[in-house]
Symmetry: C2
Subunit: 424 residues, 2 copies
């Protein structure tokens, strides 16, 4: 017997048939003797419809700008999950499973007042636990809570993953199963590298690096939360047949477990290769090497909502001038250059150079901490394929390499192979 | 300055343009210096869509019957009004009007636990009043409240009218304006009688008789509630131009005021003629005239959800046998006969006779109480047109006459004219 939180996204609950399918997954876990809470998103398309109305309303009402009250946005958009949770509760009841829906304010899921992008402050899990012990399934509307103003607050896009992990922490669940349209986390993108393998386990820290690098399986926020509260999070597919025999395997069902590194007995040195295409590199040459120069560059870029990724600063030759290189998404490159031109006098650089169409390849693995030579292996492998490295940054568990975009696929395949990740 | 509750139904908020139109009506009242709460229904079609999902879910999930949990029904269906109230708040804000949305549980509107058809037990109007005094418009999701189980409860179809009147009572509003797709209450159906006049005022009791007789402007429940709390209720059109000069007339805008009879200075004897087509008459002949015979007849009919309307019992000739006549909607006649046949031994009647295709014409007016000869006028007028009367029932303020359906229109026109109701 285990206590499990199961989370299903919008495509998994897109219509009544799919909601029934979700109910079958839930019933399987209940029949296996587990205590279950389910967290659901809005039916696919519903959130977009509601957001569309909110965004259009001010202009229809004659306003010049499309400014709207985020508190009203929340009241409107949260209704999508409310509907799904009620329908899933009905589906479960129809299948003989005791269930009831819970809206964020009923549990309550308490958030801060940052409407539209609220953070969860506290969840009282006591009533849910009482119901578990009575054998009742809790069907929770994801993505929402209630603020200190007693008004609905949504957690922002992808917030249902965060809801699920937070509820799993609040009820001390043994596992939080995130059902998604992929069947787990792979060593790299299987569409690019057919030899990519599904991992059985990945450490929270590794998943964070994978996610922020574009592995888009789970929201970064939810992984951070899972890491802080040590919520064992399991990524699996909602499109698998709910009644397939392997799905009932309580110890080792198909999917990828994201867990504490201590739970991963045989840690590999490198666990995955991530990539981001369409990066642009911008270099500022002969900057004044003085305190505050970084802030003068990146402050205005942040104010313009430009996401800066890699940052490399070289040690200056004579202690007075330095070079600064960083990357932004290609689409933001022109805007970034414009911002920098406007700040030229404040920053005090000589020339600015830029190059688009680059790719960032990242090698990730907690094992790097205790293994030397991991970076050298990558550099050697890329050199053998004549791939030129434009910039390098490293962290304790990650090496990121900037290369010409045309070589992205070759580089990923090469590194995937050289670190022994290929499927056998 | 007045405190006004304004209520708009589903067709008035069917899309963003119409919501904008509603906002213009609200702004007009705010600009005139009034304190305003607005009660809204779900966008036209939304409630049906949500109810359709609820009803279909059990079968999709494999249940044999389409039984569903009324508490989940409520959680799902109440989301429709939640969306409209948020959108209207945004529209008002966009037009420079301070406004916020309120869901039933936030005010709170406390109901009993009869999910799907809950009754309002109590509304705390203090916070709304505090906001009025700050100049803020309250946009309230109609049709809903929160039960003692802390779950959403809906009031049943048409419940938004009831919400509006109940909120008007709670905040001690001077008036509750019900905006609808007609521009007031008429002396009879204007589609049948072009000479029908819009009434300026009608007493609660008269409106109750009009409404239950099919004048379908306002839910009976909401009129009952208005009568109990003496909420002056004003029926007006949401399709009038919000900025037409006459709409700004604070004393005498276009529409019909439903109010206490004391407020109606020049009470007419008869105020309206109502009708119900497609009635069927059922007569039980030579019943045993003993205590409990009425219960033996109408109990089983009620259990079969057959609405019995007029009931006429003749005094028995010899004190042992009597006749009982009553009407039901034509569509229910066969079912009623079937029920009566099954209960024949219990009831103890001799024969049953029935006739379909009848019409019930009702003459309504509080002035009848103090005027003799009102009924005689009707009988004489109908006799002059050779219309045969099949049954008669009377109350203090109403005379109902059952006739052949083919004469319904002629009878209504004749009575409308003879009581001086024709437009001049």
């Amino acid at each position: 017997m285990a206590r499990i939180v199961m989370k299903f996204g919008g495509t998994s609950v897109a219509d009544l048939d799919r909601i029934h399918n979700v109910a079958r997954h839930v019933k399987r876990e209940v029949d296996a003797g587990n205590q279950v809470a389910v967290v659901v998103s809005a039916m696919a398309g519903k959130t977009n419809e509601l957001v569309g109305w909110v965004q259009a309303m001010p202009k229809v009402a004659g306003a010049k700008a499309s400014f709207y009250d985020a508190r009203e946005y929340d009241a409107i958009v949260a209704s999508g999950e409310q509907v799904t949770s009620g329908l899933l509760a009905i589906a479960l009841q129809s299948m003989g499973v005791d269930a009831r829906s819970w809206q964020g304010w009923q549990i309550p899921v308490k958030t801060d007042n940052a409407h539209g992008a609220a953070r969860i402050l506290d969840i009282d899990g006591s009533e849910l636990i009482r119901r578990f012990e009575m054998g009742q399934v809790a069907v929770v509307a994801g993505f929402q809570g209630v603020g200190p103003d007693n008004r609905l607050a949504t957690l922002g896009r992808g917030g249902s993953d965060t809801s699920a992990v937070a509820i799993a922490a609040a009820v001390k669940a043994d596992r939080c199963d995130i059902y998604t349209d992929v069947d787990g986390v792979y060593t790299t993108d299987p569409r690019m590298v057919p030899k990519a393998r599904r991992m059985k386990k990945i450490a929270f820290e590794e998943m964070l690096e994978m996610a922020s690098l574009g592995a888009k399986v789970l929201q970064v926020r939810s992984v951070e939360l899972a890491m802080v509260h040590k919520v064992r999070t399991f990524v699996r597919s909602s499109f698998d047949d709910p009644d397939a025999p392997e799905m009932s395997d309580q110890l080792n069902p198909p999917g990828t477990l994201i867990c504490d590194e201590e739970e991963i007995v045989e840690q590999e040195v490198v666990t995955g290769i991530a990539y981001a295409k369409d990066e642009a590199q911008i270099s500022l040459r002969r900057l004044a090497d003085r305190p505050g120069v970084s802030a003068a560059i990146f402050g205005p870029l942040a104010d313009s909502h430009i996401n800066v990724d890699m940052i490399v600063q070289n040690i200056s030759e004579d202690g007075s001038r330095t070079d600064m290189t960083f990357t932004v998404p290609s689409g933001d490159a022109d805007k970034a250059l414009e911002v920098l031109a406007g700040e030229k006098d404040v920053i005090g650089y000589d020339v600015v150079q830029s190059e688009s169409g680059l790719a960032k390849i990242s090698v990730i693995g907690i094992g790097m901490r205790s293994h030397a030579g991991v970076a050298a292996t990558a550099f050697k492998a890329l050199a053998e394929k004549s791939i030129n490295i434009k910039a390098i940054t490293t962290s304790e568990i990650k090496i990121s390499i900037l290369i010409d975009g045309a070589y992205a696929e070759l580089a990923v395949r090469t590194l995937h192979s050289v670190y022994g990740l290929d499927k056998t």
